[in-house]
């Protein structure tokens, strides 16, 4: 059959690692047929920093500042999981007060992460104003974090056995004020965005994932819950003290980008509920389990002698990881964040494997954009909610 003169040559467009779409350094090689997408190949690795290899040479307390750089928008979760692993290995109990404070911090971090997902998502669709509004709310969360932990973003707050320092005086009232304020703001977002016909047209029916497909691809987090599977690790694993609060799993059935948007928005309201309950019921008590500081004192006894006082820096006491393997996971805002930890009988882990939710969730992108238009790529990518820090780690 003679090929017509105007034969179809598919156009290959490179949406390079550096582009104004605010999704980090993700390179997409898109094969286009006019306006329709035929294929899409994501290329990762532009932000690879060797986090897993670095972990093999750091004690846990030394490694904690690194972990906040995986998912730099929901930092408490990365810290929580770094600390949960050794806690479970060494069978260390966390006092109740510390657990409640951890839950409050985690839920605040979840709200912050979903807020910063919403801004760029709307900016990709074209509405640039919500970007400014979410930063206004995020600044309040930053202020709360700064008062409690000392840093706005990279907190280094969690410790094995509890948290680093107790909450300052008056923090609880400020947090309750924030909760009340934020509920009004969520209503504002609903009014501005959720019923906007242009938004609905852009987002409804775009990037549909069925429940079966979601499980097959190994998705987690809001992507799974938006496809009709009410799976939330906070209810399944029952870690920290999520059992003691009354809250529901937010899920939707349709599996399109609108469903994911609705799931994340309602998760924010649920988080506020959890925070309010935790604040009201915050018990007294210690904020750190000091038993975890009972380290093996037999090491380095010679170097602690009188004669070697001024020779060099003494190594800081470290928590020993026993020679076991463990997989621990949390429900991060982007999905299931997990650590597979193989301990060596020393301060350094033998293998520290990170299971990033963004990496696993990104796999479905080429499948989803196959029959969509060029403009939908950004919508779908935005609704998957990836952050390159943890995808590449």
């Amino acid at each position: 059959m003679k090929r017509p003169v105007t034969g179809k040559d598919l156009m290959i467009v490179n949406m390079g690692p550096h582009h104004p779409s605010m999704h980090g350094v993700l390179r997409l090689i898109v094969t286009l047929d006019g306006e329709d997408v035929v294929d899409c190949e994501p290329i990762l690795g532009y932000l690879h920093r060797g986090m897993e290899k670095i972990a093999e040479n750091r004690a846990i307390i030394q490694y904690l500042p690194y972990v906040t750089r995986w998912d730099y928008l929901a930092t408490m979760f990365t810290e929580a999981i770094t600390v949960n692993g050794p806690e479970q290995l060494g069978n260390i109990q966390v006092p109740k007060r510390a657990s409640y404070i951890r839950v409050i911090m985690l839920e605040l971090s979840r709200i912050a992460s979903h807020l910063l997902w919403l801004g760029p998502f709307m900016a990709d669709i074209g509405a640039q104003t919500p970007f400014f509004y979410i930063f206004r709310e995020r600044e309040f969360v930053y202020d709360l974090f700064e008062a409690a932990t000392g840093m706005r973003m990279m907190h280094n707050f969690f410790r094995i056995g509890g948290i680093a320092a107790d909450l300052p005086y008056g923090w609880i009232d400020k947090c309750l004020d924030f909760c009340d304020y934020f509920l009004t703001e969520v209503v504002e977002y609903q009014k501005l965005i959720t019923r906007n016909p242009i938004f609905l047209e852009r987002v409804e029916g775009v990037g549909i994932i069925s429940g079966e497909e979601a499980i097959n691809w190994g998705l987690s987090g809001p992507m799974l819950r938006a496809s009709g599977i009410p799976w939330d690790l906070r209810k399944v694993d029952r870690y920290e003290s999520y059992d003691e609060f009354e809250w529901e799993i937010q899920w939707q059935k349709q599996g399109d980008s609108l469903a994911r948007y609705l799931v994340r928005l309602s998760e924010m309201t649920e988080s506020i509920k959890i925070i309010q309950q935790a604040l009201e019921g915050l018990p007294g008590g210690p904020y750190e389990n000091l038993e975890s500081r009972g380290f093996d004192r037999k090491r380095n006894t010679e170097w602690n002698d009188f004669e070697y006082r001024f020779i060099s820096k003494k190594p800081s006491p470290t928590f020993e990881l026993s020679k076991q393997e463990l997989y621990v996971r949390v429900e991060a805002p982007k999905g299931e964040l997990g650590i597979f930890l193989i301990g060596d009988q020393s301060g350094f882990p033998w293998r520290w494997k990170i299971r990033p939710p963004g990496f696993i969730n990104l796999q479905i992108l080429p499948e989803l954009v196959k029959r969509m238009k060029l403009a939908d790529i950004m919508t779908i990518l935005g609704s998957i909610d990836i952050i390159m820090g943890e995808v590449d780690r």
């Binding site: 104004p20 669709i125 509405a127 640039q128 238009k373 060029l374 403009a375």
Partner: protein
Amino acid sequence: MIIYATEVQTINSFVRLESLKEVYGLIWIFVPIFSLILGIITGVLVIVWLEREISAGIQQRIGPEYAGPLGILQALADGTKLLFKEDLRPSRGNTPLFSIGPSIAVISILLSYSVLPFSNHLVLADLNIGIFLWIAISSIAPIGLLISGYGSNNKYSFLGGLRAAAQSISYEIPLTLCVLSISLLSNSLSTVDIVEAQSKYGFWGWNLWRQPIGFIIFLISSLAECERLPFDLPEAEEELIAGYQTEYSGIKFGLFYVASYLNLLISSLFVTVLYLGGWNISIPYVSILELFERDPIFGTTIGIFITLAKTYLFLFISIATRWTLPRLRMDQLLNLGWKFLLPISLGNLLLTTSFQLFSL
């Protein structure tokens, strides 16, 4: 033949006076043109400043405040900066086309300003086919965009240029049909006649009340013609970097920028002329004609002010819309133009025609 010296001298001086008069006449043609262009450029500067202030207000931040008092000279500062930038030209692109593209877009819009009445008979060219001139000449702008997209030797620019051309063409038809309905109402294509037809009952004489559907369609179509959000897919930053403007730098990029705002200004001016009553005061029983007769300069100035005030109302609406609504996808955009606006504007035309027939 005896030629007396004095006669020669008078003949010579007479000739000199004539040529001087001709030169004077020639210069006098340019004065209104230049003053109009000066007014337009000032208008664009003001629009740029307005856009930044309004968007800052919507986004809860402060707009420009350092360049000049209250940041008024910000647009001028931006333009000067663009003048100083290096003029990049793609090495394998078509350089003549690359250079001409932005100019075509700007020139076609600038030409349309000649039929706009700013006040009572204060119009550069009182043509019988005023409105039609605008529609015809503004249709040349998509050619400029196509040329820029093609001449850039860049896939993104090409895609952007094609999209821009498709969008412009699809939204011209509803625009034209609305204008046609208006001219039916006023029995003339001349802009001055259209405004004068709205002057009788003050506020209630506006074409807005006689053509509500047409007004809305005209608003949407003119937003799409200007390529402003929610229709700015050709320059969608997230997807195509900057569409057909990607390869441009320096003052050529500035020309695109200016062309966009010029287009916006002329659309707003046409909205006031066609639907909001132009230079009429629009308070019932107060006619600007009396003011004009009493004191022409005062009346004219009041007319200009009223036109500008009504224009800025529409400008505010379009700027606020830009920063509120998300963007339409390309196929949804074309759907809206062809399958929704076109039938409705046809229906509007039909309605107007039947009312005109019956009222006769």
